[in-house]
Amino acid sequence: MSTLTSAARDSSVIAWRNLLTVRRTPGALVTGIVQPVIFVFLLAFVFGGSLGGAPYREFLIGGILAQTLTFNSSFTAVYLAKDLQLGLIDRFRSLPMSRVAVILGRTTSDLATGSISIVVTMVCGLIIGWRITEGFGSALLAILLLLLFGFAMSWIGAFIALTARSVEVAQSLGLIWLFPVTFLSGAFVSVDSLPGPLQAIASWNPVTAVATSVRELFGNVSPAGYTSGTGWAADNPILYAVISCVAVIALFSTVAVSQYRRISRR
């Protein structure tokens, strides 16, 4: 069996096992479900009023979708760290299976959590008046882009878990960077409203690109005067979003797998 097919096969076994685990511990899904609900209603009705009312609510959903998918990384980090801590990874590593499979299976199955979050966020959006105004194909592309983004974020989480190696550390490390990364972006505000240097960061932040692309693909109009920054990334959000996802996957899959191998030199 070639390396590629065995990697795919082993990953699917691991993903199957992960999904069974998720199904049997629905408590773990609470974060994935409750969090977007809280964010949608909190931002729509607490901040939304001063930020522009109905037009802001339409704008908001794209941002929350992008933000929600970054949290995929923390799910991956925690689940993988748990497997490491319980010694399951040791069993996997003593089996003649693909070295990538444990991580690839994880990042793939965590897309299920991501998908649930997407559905929940969209339903909340519909409740507060957000609508899809572009066609079905375009909406589908938006969802695919979000899944690609969530997948990329998962690889960052995998790297964190394999570096931290304890559930507690993985949990806090896996969460803490998400806040600056999601808020220093055009996910919730107009990039123009940020001070100079932060504007540049937000303009090139992939979260901005994902949020902007999703709005475009769903046909959501930003409130008057809202911008998603300046520069090539801001002008080509979809292309930039895809490129940055691919780059993150390439980089973090490399470091995560090498970290996985390195555990053996303990």
């Binding site: 065995s6 691991i14 069974l20 010694g87 003649p96 053996s264």
Partner: protein
Amino acid sequence: MISIDQLSKNYGTFRALDKINLQVDQGQIFGLLGPNGAGKTTTVKILSTLVRPDSGEAVIAGNSVTADPTAVRASIGLSGQYAAVDEKLTGHENLVMVGRLYGMSRQESRARARELLHEFAIVDVKDKRAGAYSGGMRRRLDLASALVFRPPVVILDEPTTGLDPRGRLDTWDVISTLVGEGTTVLLTTQYLEEADQLADRIAVIDSGKVIAEGTSDELKVSLGAERITLTLARRDSLDETLRILERIIGVSNRAQTDSTGMRLTVPAPLGQKTLLQVLDALNSGGILVTEAALSRPTLDDVFLDLTGKPASPETSPSQSADAEVDV
């Protein structure tokens, strides 16, 4: 089947393994006996390719753990100290998963899982999550996972640590009956009794070095003579008894008396003959004994003799709790 040559591993400045050499023949059950921190788990981790050695070589079924770890993984089954079963999966699912990861087809994995669930007497709980299993059942499931692929070499890292006596006996049973004929087994243990019961050959390791190797009998013989254990009927006959023993066995071999002052252990240089001499002398001296036994040294004695310290504090279950004092 397993060949370990000059294997060394350091963790920082701590020397976990210091040029270990071991040979395990095909079909043999080999016991690696030592206290906590002796290097047992490090050896297991190197053999199962989880850890790379700093120097030296280990070859399993013709494949080097450093040069061809993938081939090694395909020829071993590992059952770890911490019983790494997936608690969220059922027993059946656990075994199917392992089979699939060994590269077996879905059908093959399922058939093999059913077979093992029967053999290991966990078929009644096969559809319950492993998290709900008792310690003994978990250990059996973990052991079964190691045998899914019918590997030629099975590595068991402290298979009974943390089990109650019943679970321990169960597990011994499983190891001696279910690990098939021709399968080579390397097991580590800190229980002398366990090595004695299960292993064809034993290596005693301490501080990363092999300090003795041989069959359980050989190790006991190397410690020397048999010993006599006496239980006196009356405590006040102790002094007289000691005098008699000294006369027969000599002053160099001091008797050990337990805290009750009624139970003594003395070496018997001539075995049965010494026992008869002792009983005869005690009889003439009018000293009543309620019990007299001739026995060979236990592995506990071997261990104490070799390492200069008793086996781990939490030692074999059958060991007597008597505090022995030098008289």
